[in-house]
Symmetry: C2
Subunit: 130 residues, 2 copies
């Protein structure tokens, strides 16, 4: 996983970033959500998914995302609408260090399904290291 | 067409708005794009689509959107991440009065297809009034 830089289309009217599902985003977009009004010192996320894949973009402000495959943790900074980060299934994710004005857009590969969440880190470790 | 208010899910970690494709959004999401770095006095849009439907949300800042079915024009204000506006096919749309910090998120029902654009207002009027 790594930060992907998307092309910025610009003219005198401003800037535009376009993302095609299944092309720029490696899945069909079944759900989107966005997080705002976050607190600088309060992390979010802290779960993994059995099957749902996600794509994260800080379209305003900035935040950090730590992805963890059960063996290695890596932290990425999202700080521009052109930067996207793919979070695969069975990757533990934590969003943190939100700027006050952060708006984090998340694209998801499936509709909401509580059964797809893995919220216990020990359970996550068991699954990925099985 | 009218502004739709989406539910804001909130707790001590911040706020979240979630939109399910085909449920909250009246189509499958094949493409997303977002507009930023806009100018206060410079409008955008000014086209219609033969078939593509769009859903607009000012996730940061604010802007106005004027929708025109060829007979009646109506102007809507998007000024909160919880507010969405559906723009059907064969509706002429113009976005204007962008705040400096506006980030306008647009969800689209199809992949980019230049042939789907109607960029000439007279042609649009002919089609919708045929």
């Amino acid at each position: 996983m790594s930060i992907k830089e998307h092309k910025i289309l610009g003219d005198h009217r401003g800037k535009l970033v376009a993302l095609e599902a299944g092309i720029d985003i490696p899945f069909e977009i079944k759900r989107i959500f966005y997080i705002f009004g976050t607190q600088v010192g309060v992390p979010r996320g802290q779960h993994s998914h059995h099957a749902i894949q996600q794509y994260l973009i800080a379209v305003n402000g900035s935040c950090k995302v730590t992805l963890d495959n059960g063996k290695v943790k890596q932290t990425y900074e999202l700080n521009h609408p052109s930067k996207g980060l793919f979070q695969d299934a069975l990757i533990w994710g934590e969003m943190h260090d939100f700027s006050e004005d952060c708006l984090l857009l998340v694209l998801a590969s499936e509709h909401y399904d509580e059964a797809d969440y893995i919220r216990d880190y020990d359970e996550f470790k068991k699954i990925v290291n099985a």
